[in-house]
Symmetry: C2
Subunit: 570 residues, 2 copies
């Protein structure tokens, strides 16, 4: 395998052998290590010293089902710490097949000189961004696939990333004309924009498969893994996650009183019924949209949808739970058509729907719009794409919006907006939001699935639960695996160990696997420590400790000492 | 002496005896200790757990010349650490005469309920703010002096403080109709606004003098101190600081290449000639304004001016160096009439001219105005008072402005904008900006006066110089002394020791005095540490390390290890 280093200062690309320190790493694990080795932790996240790292997981390119996610990382302009966000689409698979361990972008292009990185099978080059400058991610993807072939993968930023907004993510195309996969969180689109890179175009490799140390071992484990997913009652073809996608949990989260409503002022939304995944599927199919399709080649879960309007015209795909919560109930909207339009706008501008939904909620609380009034919200969001002063505030995320508009009720932790679970009534997620080196993030250790195991309203067992989930999340994000695909690996880690050994021949044991996962967190925590994050940062906002959340009237009361000792046993 | 505690939640006031831990403290020293004892260091600076503390210095009310400053403090919304800012006017003297060690404001008034605190000789009460709500500090002071008597002292916030903007300061009236004294820095006006307090009105005490432990010792020392000031060649009636005020240094700072110009992109301003203190005095006197008057009762230095327009009508008083630098050269303006108008607007809105000037410079760099174009800048500043979205950005200070508008060249340290000395060519100030627990602050340890002693362009001796100056600054801010009045105390600390012992009978030695001063810094550093500030925060912005500053083409190259060890010998 090899590294591709891109020097944006000098407009030069360079292929490098993988140094030993990175050899046994992938995805999030590799990003964390590159940050610690190469990036000054106190650097300006939008300055020349930060790096943007794109890395498939360890299983990238191996055609393991649900394991083709692309990790993108760098120092986050929001959390000021280590950040990794990952996306479906074809990028993880394609880079893995090309034997590219990581693309590392360094420096900054001269002001107003925008570039595109093109990666072929054995070469790479920087080209002028030309007409793609200023376009949204849909038009950028269209233009570049038109120029370079419909089969190539496009990784791009929209206007938000170009304007270096903290809420900007990175869009990754998928099979067919999919444009809706985003490495959304932590402002990595702004980091890409700060480098002067509009897009990366990767040619589809022909007939490439990575070498296998033990092909039989690999294939056996990969097949068992896929079969377990197919047989899983939630994930299989009759399972709720396949049928209704991530939105399958709307009713349950609402019922438990953790569904963010009107800027996290209620955990129960009166309009939740029409936001449910079941309703989403029904409407989608009745109108001729897609349900149960896939975002990554070969995924057997296939939880994706394409939401269409009443005339059958696609609005956005895939409409997901976090977006429904943050752009829906959190803004007082109970209409999926409206949520879908806002979702598409965010996707096009290249904005994280979670960060932006939270920022919109704060802006509305400041009087810039009205909860439940779609038109006022649509106008507000349109400002972001236009880059108006108000748009720049919202585009910079929830914390910046609260600070500028004078709102203290900002649902964020470690600088990053909270996803769709109010931590006052799902306290395990509160522990994760507060303590994860990634900031408030539902993929960093989501306790929702364990709500029957640990009382979500109690404080007992939350820190242990969060740690366990954070370790698993680190594994998922480092191998390229989707969050939905975790059950078979949790049930039998040997499956992952076998796939890794079959691919690389490292002779891992389950203990090695566990150490690897924990090391990801250790490395990120160390980077964050050097970047200046302390226990003062690893906290939830003050209002969540004092303002009771209906309907349970719960506050976040997990003691600080618990937060400070989550990683004691790491 | 006594404490006045004001519970804004319950609209209650309470007199308290001074607890032993606060007994031997005043001004900044007392504020630091109250913060450490009573305020959760990680609290939201604009939330109910922060406190706003107003405290005269240890010499407050004793009629010592140049020692009547009022310290105001709390956790800063800008630095997130301990903050003290002080102002001239009559407040320090009046509170001292009333025997009030400190006024401590706690909690927050219910939303939209604005109050005024009225302090009489022996009682205090909270009253509705009535018509003063929404007024600037000039109109607020006028209204309240009309209601409560022209002799009372008014301490108020303007629109910026009401809107909880991070650049908001607190205005203190002085003798006659003076309205131009501000405890400007660190966003303490926002803290006052967050409490729901529009103003404090203090009745003039009649015939009160504090008790003296040894009146002869006190009077002898105070008289010698005053005489030393009168005889000082710079401060006396023929001295440059009396004649030209703080603006006396314009030419020298410009000549050394440290005069902030067009958002800190040059250290030398081609239009500096007409910003000089000599020019200021000439114009002022020719038009019938004031020069060489005083901002505090009994001050023998009398460096104040009242700048008038061509018709002799007062624009603003006192026009000072830092304002001339930040609202003048830093915005490309070389016309004092224009600077004076911007200064008055800032004063009226209740804005720190340093923070706001720096924010305007950043906003102009982002294309929101034009350097040197007064009208575009005036319009930009007007937004702040109007509370528009753009105004809220600028009103929140330089860091917020840079973040939202996407500008990395932000002249700030520890979250607070730099005053009028570019640290690349006055490196001792760079060390102070970076390491002071107060953030970038010219009164926290200003190396300009030592420029002949330590080469301002070199790195040698800067950390030792900064520490020495920071210790002296802590003394000044804790006794109520003006920065200009430091020479006699530096030359002979026994003078201060005698005044303290004469007043309080504490039997201080010069060693006690030194320990007291150092303890101020230790206490603040400890609060900041608990608030989460680390060496990652105690730094200058990245661009100052890499972008050479004309005309010396100097970068800030004092090693991080020097910054990290400034307080090693504290």
């Amino acid at each position: 395998m090899k590294l591709l280093r891109v020097d944006m200062n000098q407009s030069q690309v360079r292929w490098e052998p993988v140094p030993p320190v990175y050899e046994r790493l992938g995805g999030r694990a590799l990003i964390a290590r590159v940050l610690l080795e190469e990036v000054p932790p106190t650097c300006d996240a939008l300055g020349p010293l930060n790096k943007l790292i794109l890395a498939p997981g360890l299983l990238g390119g191996c055609s393991v089902t649900a394991a083709g996610r692309l990790s993108v990382g760098g120092k986050s302009p929001l959390t000021k710490g280590a950040k990794e966000a990952n996306a479906g689409g074809t990028a993880g698979d394609v880079l893995g097949k090309l034997g590219i361990k990581a693309v590392i972008l360094e420096g900054q292009a001269p002001k107003d000189q925008w570039l595109i990185l093109r990666i072929h099978s054995d070469s790479a080059e920087l080209l002028p961004a030309g007409n793609s400058r200023g376009l949204g991610t849909y038009a950028t993807s269209d233009l570049l696939q038109e120029m370079y072939g419909a089969s190539c993968t496009v990784i791009s930023i929209g206007q938000a990333g170009e304007m270096c907004m903290g809420g900007a993510g990175i869009c990754v195309t998928g099979e067919g004309r999919q444009r809706s996969n985003h490495a959304a969180r932590g402002g990595l689109g702004a980091v890409m924009g700060s480098k002067g890179l509009k897009a990366i175009v990767v040619d589809k490799p022909t007939g490439k498969t990575p070498p296998f140390a033990d092909a039989d071992l690999f294939r056996g484990a990969a097949r068992t893994f896929a079969q377990k997913l197919i047989n899983d009652p939630k994930l299989g073809t009759k399972g709720s996650q396949h049928l209704y996608g991530t939105a399958s949990i709307v009713a349950a989260v609402n019922e438990m009183g953790s569904f963010p409503t009107r800027n996290f002022s209620n955990g129960n939304f009166e309009g939740a019924e029409t936001l449910r995944g079941e309703h989403l599927r029904e409407v989608t199919l009745a109108r001729g949209g897609e349900a149960g399709t896939r975002c990554m080649p070969g995924c057997v879960i296939a939880c994706r949808n394409v939401y269409v309007d009443a005339t059958g015209k696609p609005i956005v795909g895939t409409l997901q739970y976090e977006t429904i919560a943050l752009l829906g109930s959190n803004l007082g909207l109970g209409n999926l058509d409206e949520v879908a339009v806002l979702n598409r706008m965010c996707n096009d501008f290249g904005l994280d729907t979670i960060e932006t939904g939270a920022a919109l909620g704060v802006a509305i609380e400041a009087g810039q719009g009205q909860f439940g009034d779609f038109e006022s919200i649509r106008r507000l969001l349109a400002h972001v794409g236009e880059g108006t002063v108000l748009g720049r505030i919202i585009g910079n995320g929830a914390v910046a919006t609260g600070r500028v508009l004078g709102i203290r009720r900002v649902p964020a932790a470690v600088g990053q907006a909270m996803p769709g679970y109010d931590p006052r009534s799902l306290k395990g997620n509160g522990v994760t939001y507060a303590t994860s080196p990634q900031g408030a993030d539902h993929t960093a250790g989501n306790a929702f699935g364990a709500r029957k195991e640990v009382n979500p309203l109690g404080i007992q067992g939350q820190k242990e639960l969060s740690l366990r989930l954070q370790i698993i999340a680190a594994m998922l994000d480092s191998t390229g695996l989707c969050l939905f695909a975790r059950p078979p690996i949790i049930a039998n880690p040997q499956l992952m160990v076998d796939m890794i050994n079959g691919r690389y021949g490292w002779g891992w044991t389950v203990e090695d696997y566990d150490r690897f996962n924990r090391d990801v967190l250790r490395t990120e925590l160390e980077f964050n420590r050097r970047a200046g994050l302390t226990t003062a940062d690893y906290r939830l906002p003050e209002f969540m400790h004092t303002e009771p959340l209906p309907p349970h009237n719960a506050t976040f009361d997990v003691p600080d000492t618990d937060l400070d000792t989550v990683f004691e046993t790491l």
